[in-house]
């Protein structure tokens, strides 16, 4: 069976080939995500059957069900999907740029900077509303990433220098965070710890609306950069050789990656693992062509966060635990399984 199908059209003159297997897997993942979303909305301290959930979606459910489904659980799930997708795509972009498997939004300091800013906010802000926290975190993340980029700049940014500088600055921000945690009061510290772990607890449509423009805008922007991402994978020299203005593209791609991760961290805190591992999982499922890799990463990232949040709010009742705890708890075993299964590939 041919894995690739070539499609040519006379007018307009287009030619591209389709990887049937990768396309199929993407499609399956998407179906799986939809199923997970519907199931996750139905489950909770009050159980709603799948049929009732769908009825509530189309406006034919009971009033109580509609309230629970549309006003309480749906925004939480939507935010989870967006956060997961943003982090995963952000990680996928960075892994292409840095060509280091450890690359993730944490690498260039976005998460660490956002966390430090948020914890500083918890420590020092006395009479300021908590609603400002996502914004503060976002600004912290953006500033830190900018600092990393500028520090790594020396007539151009080499991926390697960026990674090293990023690790340093992240560690510095991590230290600042611990410092703030030490000088703050205990009850605030535990509050901060919850935020640092990453949670979508208590999200409403307001949060959805805050995050939506960022996610949509920058995911769409990423789609237009797919061919440059593919070129970057080949190394600086080849990318230059086939006509990519690498420093310019690199800045643009880093900016997209930071914006995606920064917004996600701003809304949901430091959810770990997604940005690092979702792209790797996707890579092992659909291969390295970014046209298939990006959607697969996004869907997987979204699915992981939805599942993690589902476990957090159902398994340990009456606790409602942060999703960030479970993203790795579900993702890591699956990743290890994939790693083992594909152990003979290179």
């Amino acid at each position: 069976m041919h894995r690739h199908v070539v499609i040519r059209t006379k007018k307009p003159a287009l030619s591209f080939h389709v990887d049937k297997r990768a396309l199929g897997i993407n499609f399956l993942l998407f179906l799986l995500l939809s199923a997970v979303i519907v199931l996750s909305i139905g489950l909770g301290s009050l159980h709603i059957p799948v049929w009732e959930v769908i009825k509530a979606f189309v406006g034919a459910g009971s009033e109580q069900n509609e309230l629970i489904v549309l006003d309480w659980r749906l925004p939480r799930v939507v935010v989870s999907v967006m956060v997961g997708a943003s982090l995963a795509v952000s990680g996928a972009i960075l892994q292409s740029l840095v060509r280091n498997p450890l690359a993730s939004p944490d690498l260039i300091g976005t998460t660490a900077g956002a966390t430090a800013a948020a914890v500083a906010f918890i420590t020092f802000a006395k009479d300021v509303s908590v609603q400002w926290m996502p914004l503060v975190a976002l600004i912290g993340g953006l500033l830190t990433a900018t600092l990393t980029y500028l520090t790594a700049w020396k007539g151009g940014v080499s991926p390697f220098r960026l990674a090293l500088v990023g690790v340093c600055i992240s560690a510095g921000m991590g230290a600042l965070t611990i410092f703030f945690l030490i000088i703050t009061q205990t009850h605030k510290a535990s509050n901060a710890l919850g935020w640092m772990t990453g949670t979508v607890y208590g999200t409403s449509w307001v949060n959805v609306m805050t995050l939506l423009p960022w996610t949509v805008l920058f995911l769409v922007a990423t789609i237009f950069q797919i061919r440059y991402l593919n070129a970057q994978e080949l190394g600086d020299d080849i990318a230059k050789g086939i006509g990519v203005a690498i420093d310019k593209k690199r800045l643009l791609l880093i900016a997209i990656s930071v914006a995606l991760a920064g917004a996600a961290v701003g809304v949901a805190g430091g959810i770990s693992f997604i940005g690092l591992m979702a792209p790797h999982i996707a890579r092992r499922l659909v291969g390295s062509a970014y046209g298939y890799l990006l959607p697969a990463s996004a869907v997987l990232g979204g699915m992981l966060v939805v599942l993690a949040d589902l476990i957090g709010r159902t398994v340990f009742l009456p606790h409602d635990l942060p999703a960030g705890i479970f993203t790795a708890a579900i993702g890591a075993p699956f990743f290890v399984y994939l790693l083992y299964k594909t152990r003979n590939h290179q």
């Binding site: 080499s158 560690a171 510095g172 960030g324 705890i325 479970f326």
Partner: protein, 338 residues
């Protein structure tokens, strides 16, 4: 690559100077802090112990703390060198193979399962075992398959297992708030409050680690050339890799059990030493031992002195990261990376 010290004489001289610096900062670390002592008091604490408060502080607090800092600093630096050679990834550090996360998870699990009835020394064993088991698991996973252990597989399995272990830790900490305060002792790297028996319990393992690393230097030099070249030159690479991992488990596991995860020493010191003496592991390892130890003692001393007016003690892990940033960024910028 530009190396500051090129001749053998220069390298030896600086190494000896490093030992002197280490001795000086160790003495300073014993004498200075919230209470300052004179050198004679410190000597008297050991020659004519009177049981006075000063003597007690010196023998039971300052001395163990200083020794712990030296041992941990050296061990982390050497573990960093070994891992960077093994993975051929300059960003590799002991936390990469999951030792920190594994130790923390083991300790928190022990606290939750058995309550807090165990003394610190027993907890240290839990940490050591957790670190060891995690590292071996990561290594086993990375070695599975046809290509054997490749840097990328090690990196990825390390990140996955570590992420899993730390999610276990967070879960227990958030479910039982009491656990949180106790576990915090290990989650934040610190050399404060360590006792001499703890130090003596772990030091044999660290010594084996340092010695083993010194014996392995020749093989490490070949390892960094790549598996094929090393095999071609007659190295039994599987044996070398397995030994190196075992040494890392001893060094990093022992350090975490003793002081918790102290960030950055395993990255800064190897880079600094490479900058000084180049890529030859026969120099790199001894340099890392000396400067790693000196660095951590300095960092601990600084974290004590700087915030003294506020009567706050900042864990040394915070200070290492702060110093690390200020220090390594110019270094990274100076080197030319393609």
């Amino acid at each position: 690559m530009n190396v500051i010290l090129s001749s053998r004489l220069q390298k030896t001289t600086v190494l000896i100077a490093g030992f002197v610096v280490l001795a000086v900062v160790m003495v300073a670390s014993i004498l200075f802090g919230i209470n300052q002592y004179s050198l004679t008091t410190a000597v008297e604490a050991y020659t004519q112990f009177s049981g006075s408060e000063e003597h007690l502080i010196i023998t039971t607090s300052r001395m163990p703390r200083t020794l712990t800092a030296v041992a941990v600093g050296s061990s982390l630096a050497v573990a960093g060198v070994l891992l960077q050679a093994l993975t051929r990834n300059p960003l590799a550090s002991p936390s990469l193979i999951g030792v920190n996360a594994g130790a923390a998870a083991a300790i928190v699990t022990t606290i939750v399962v058995f309550g807090s009835q165990f003394p610190v020394s027993q907890m240290m064993w839990a940490g050591f075992i957790g670190a060891g088991v995690t590292a071996l698991l990561v290594y086993g996973l990375a070695s599975a398959g046809r290509g054997g252990m490749t840097p990328i597989k090690l990196t990825l399995s390390g990140a996955a297992v570590a992420a899993f272990a730390s999610s276990v830790t967070s879960l227990f900490m958030l479910l039982q708030e009491k656990t949180m305060t106790e576990a915090f002792y290990w989650l934040v790297g610190s050399v404060e409050g360590r006792q001499l028996d703890h130090f003596f319990m772990i030091i044999p393992y660290l010594l084996v680690g340092w010695l083993g690393a010194m014996l392995l230097t020749g093989s490490l030099n070949l390892m960094v050339l790549g598996d094929d070249v090393a095999t071609g030159l007659g190295q039994k690479i599987i044996l070398v890799k397995a030994t190196a991992i075992l040494l890392v488990v001893l060094l990093a596991g022992g350090s975490v059990a003793l002081a918790g995860p102290i960030a950055f020493v395993g990255i800064i010191i190897p880079h600094l030493c490479r900058f000084l003496v180049g890529l030859d592991h026969r120099w790199l390892i001894p340099y890392s031992i000396v400067f790693g130890g000196a660095f951590l003692v300095c960092a601990d001393l600084l974290s004590r002195l700087v915030l003294m007016p506020m009567r706050l003690e900042v864990p040394v892990g915070v200070a290492t990261a702060m110093i690390g940033v200020a220090f390594i960024i110019p270094l990274v910028r100076r080197r030319a990376y393609a």
